[in-house]
């Protein structure tokens, strides 16, 4: 069996007395899309932020291409994490920069393009997410929610990353725009041949963009399987979550 692109073992993270991740194991195979589902506060964002190096886990192993980023030197860890493109939940576009600078920010930071060529490059990348050249000069605040998500996606794919993370990509969008963003994500990931992890609460979105799925519950991965089986699995935790049932093994804090 080939080496997974991302391999996570025994990942633990607590904030004070609150244990968020309690030994998470997860593999993302080369060129596949993993969808992580789970209730609010189950540590989905903490999981991908740990891989990105934005949060330092308390224990565990995070391997990218077989190399443990937590044990690597800071320069090497930066290099390994440099392969990751990230689409944040709210876009996280830089308000102070126009769209074209947002899109090419990473390329300029890595000195992969010159500043004078950046605008043309941005227009080229924006076209891949279905946005016209006229958008390039606008400020993020002048864009609708859907357009902001597209620009954020354009920024995430600009450096043609080998790994992509999507944090609730369809949150706050209407169903049609959500489907459009999902299609763009699938298209971009396939085109780049990237491996990806997406976090979502949207089951339709999960099935559209995921090859495989994992359910986080009580700090652990409680189920993994093909994303297409999300709605048909008999696992009681997944079944309750995906069908949105109030009764079942998942006890919400409100009902305790």
């Amino acid at each position: 069996m080939s080496q997974p692109k991302i391999r996570i073992r025994g990942l633990k993270k607590a904030f004070g007395s609150k244990v968020v991740l309690d030994g998470v194991d997860l593999d993302v195979e080369q060129g596949t899309a993993m969808v992580v589902i789970g209730g609010s506060g189950t540590g989905k964002s903490v999981l991908i932020k740990s891989v990105l190096g934005l949060i330092t886990p308390d224990a565990g192993v995070i391997e990218i291409d077989g190399e443990d980023v937590l044990k690597a030197s800071s320069a090497r860890a930066r290099e390994l994490r440099g392969q990751i493109g990230m689409l944040f939940q709210n876009g996280a576009l830089f308000d102070s920069l126009p769209v074209w600078e947002n899109v090419t920010f990473g390329l300029l930071a890595q000195k992969r393009i010159r500043r004078r060529a950046a605008r043309d490059k941005a227009v080229e990348i924006l076209a891949q997410v279905g946005l016209g050249a006229d958008v390039a000069k606008l400020s993020p605040s002048e864009l609708s929610g859907g357009m902001q998500k597209r620009v954020a996606l354009a920024r995430a794919i600009a450096a043609e990353p080998a790994i992509m993370f999507f944090d609730e990509p369809t949150t706050g969008l209407d169903p049609i725009m959500g489907a459009v963003i999902d299609e763009l994500i699938v298209h971009c990931v396939k085109k780049l041949g990237s491996s990806s992890i997406a976090i979502t609460h949207d089951m339709a979105s999960a099935q559209r963009i995921g090859d495989n799925a994992a359910m986080l519950y009580e700090g652990k991965v409680t189920w993994t399987g093909p994303a297409r089986e999300l709605l048909t699995t008999t696992n009681p935790v997944v079944e309750q979550f995906t069908h949105g049932r109030a009764e079942g093994p998942i006890k919400m804090a409100l009902r305790r």
Partner: protein, 261 residues
């Protein structure tokens, strides 16, 4: 006995919290400073921060200095005239403005304007994931957001204080000659004969330190803010209050170091 122990524990926790806070601010400052000297450099961002801290603070600093100089001349006159010491007004105005009031008032004004803006901007970037986004785009947020502001603060404040010194003295001159009947030549001669280079230089040294402190507290509090709009509001308030207190405390320490032999 238990009550006493509770009080001791509370006191201990407060002391530990305070020492921890000082440690965090110091490490943040050292980290930010180290990025000023290590590539890549962001001259455009230093320029932008310089405009925000320096250029856009010009009106408020200028007006504050002008009116302070005017009030100082007027108050000195009402006090000194009782002892027939009106001739000392020019030197009181110029020494007070260059040594103390210029740097302190400019520092407080810039803290309220630019320090608050820095904390609000960085705080908003933090709570909307823009700071994390920088990290994922091969950019160190300390280098990109903090270092340029620290450098701009250290450069901009002394320049603002030069202006504050000139306008403060001009304010005193205006009141002295136009309202109090002083001769222009005598007043100016008295002003410059009592002014030494060290007076101006010490004020500029203070200004550079205050500029660093304003940028540091603005960046530190903004960078660490959390919890949405309320967190950003708290960060902004804390940035201004802590910078203002530090300016006044450091003013005393620097005066002790620079003037007391």
């Amino acid at each position: 006995m238990n009550r006493l122990l509770d009080w001791v524990a509370l006191l201990g926790a407060a002391v530990l919290g305070f020492v921890g806070y000082i440690g965090e601010v110091s490490l943040f400052a050292l980290n930010g400073l180290s990025h000023i000297f290590r590539p890549p450099y962001y001259p455009r961002l230093v320029g932008k921060a310089f405009m925000d801290i320096g250029y856009f603070s010009l009106p408020v600093v200028a007006l504050t200095a002008l009116f302070t100089g005017m009030v100082l001349a007027l108050q000195s006159y009402t006090g000194f005239s009782r002892f027939g010491a009106e001739s000392a007004i020019a030197s009181v105005v110029v020494l007070s403005v260059t040594r103390e009031l210029g740097p302190v008032l400019a520092g407080l004004m810039v803290s309220g304007r630019a320090g608050a803006a820095m904390a609000a901007e960085l705080g908003t970037m933090r709570v909307t994931d823009q700071v994390d986004a920088l990290s994922t785009l091969s950019t160190d947020p300390m280098k990109y957001l903090v270092a340029p502001r620290l450098l701009a603060g250290v450069i901009a404040l002394p320049l603002l204080v030069v202006l504050a010194d000139i306008l403060g003295v001009a304010g005193g001159y205006l009141v002295a000659t136009e309202k109090l009947g002083f001769s222009s030549g005598v007043y100016l001669s008295s002003t410059f004969s009592n002014l030494e280079a060290q007076d101006v230089i010490s004020g500029l040294i203070k200004a550079a330190v205050f500029g660093f402190v304003i940028a540091l507290m603005g960046c530190f509090n903004g960078y660490r803010s959390k919890g949405g709009a309320q967190g950003v509001g708290t960060a902004t308030t804390t940035a201004v209050v802590s910078a203002s207190i530090l300016i006044l405390a450091l003013d005393y320490i620097l005066t002790q170091l620079l003037f007391v032999k």
